[in-house]
């Protein structure tokens, strides 16, 4: 394939804070799985993750109603546990979420819907959260669908 590893040419930038943006849906793309493995490795390497931002079809990761077969990884649950245990903010983009039927209690009331289905600790907020990550110098990594 591929040339050999190049020698180190200068000191790595101290990019110690990550924001992960997930745009691929669970059970449709591999994006949430890859992102979760990456996130665990990042914490193990003493990096900080300031925020996980769900955008586009990625908002389905915040569903509280996903019930995959018992012999498959429950990705929504695994992400919820990971974020809670590590005190990491999980944010679903409000515009993506409302279109795709993902709502918290306050949006449920505002739009007079019959239920809410946002899984804790995810919250719903605007793209300003993503802009904040971009502007404050976090290393923003995207996990898109692969097909």
């Amino acid at each position: 394939m591929i040339s050999s590893l190049p020698e180190q040419t200068k000191t790595p930038a101290p990019a110690g804070v990550f924001t992960l943006v997930i745009t691929g849906a669970p059970y449709s793309s591999q994006a949430p799985q890859t992102a979760l493995r990456f996130a665990r490795a990042a914490l193990a390497a003493n990096k900080r993750i300031d925020r996980v931002f769900l955008y586009g079809d990625g908002v389905h990761l915040a569903s509280s109603l996903s019930a995959p077969p018992s012999d498959e990884l429950n990705l929504c649950d695994a992400w919820s546990v990971f974020l809670t245990e590590n005190h990491i903010a999980g944010v679903a983009c409000i515009a993506s979420a409302l279109r795709r039927g993902l709502v918290d209690e306050s949006e449920m009331q505002r739009y007079q819907l019959t239920a809410s289905n946002l899984r804790a600790p995810f919250e719903i907020a605007g793209l300003g959260e993503w802009v904040d990550s971009m502007a404050t110098g976090s290393r923003v990594l995207y996990f898109h669908k692969g097909a």
Binding site: S29, Q30, Q33, E72, G146, A147
Partner: protein, 116 residues
């Protein structure tokens, strides 16, 4: 009523291939004739030696091996796609027949469908 289900998406990166398999197995379960055609990057479903533990998914190698038992009539693979991905007879799972996606193949079935 014979059906060809086509899988052109590669394994593990999306659920489309799995959901196509479910369609084929459902037809077979109701005694409807069905074959599977793998083409494009989809032929990579047919490579021996897949180990999906580290991506935390189930391997479908066992499902595909059992396809004839479940009543799937043929596992077909597009020749040009196999060539592009370096899949020769030694690298392919058993029971795979190499063929050519084209009008002659699709014309042999009453229904031709994708899962997504």
């Amino acid at each position: 009523m014979s059906t060809l289900i086509i899988i052109d998406q590669p394994p593990y990166g999306s659920w489309e291939g799995r959901e196509a398999l479910d369609m084929a197995f459902s037809l077979a379960a109701f005694d409807q004739p069905v074959s599977l055609l793998f083409c494009g990057a989809g032929v990579n479903w047919l490579r021996k030696g897949q180990d999906a533990a580290e991506v935390q998914q189930k391997s479908i190698e066992r499902n595909l091996a059992a396809a004839p038992v479940f009543g799937v009539e043929a596992l077909l693979a597009d020749r040009s796609a196999c060539d592009q991905y370096g899949l020769d007879d030694a690298a392919l799972l058993d029971h795979v027949t190499i063929t050519d996606l084209g009008k002659e193949l699709t014309g042999r079935f009453d229904h031709v469908a994708f899962a997504g």
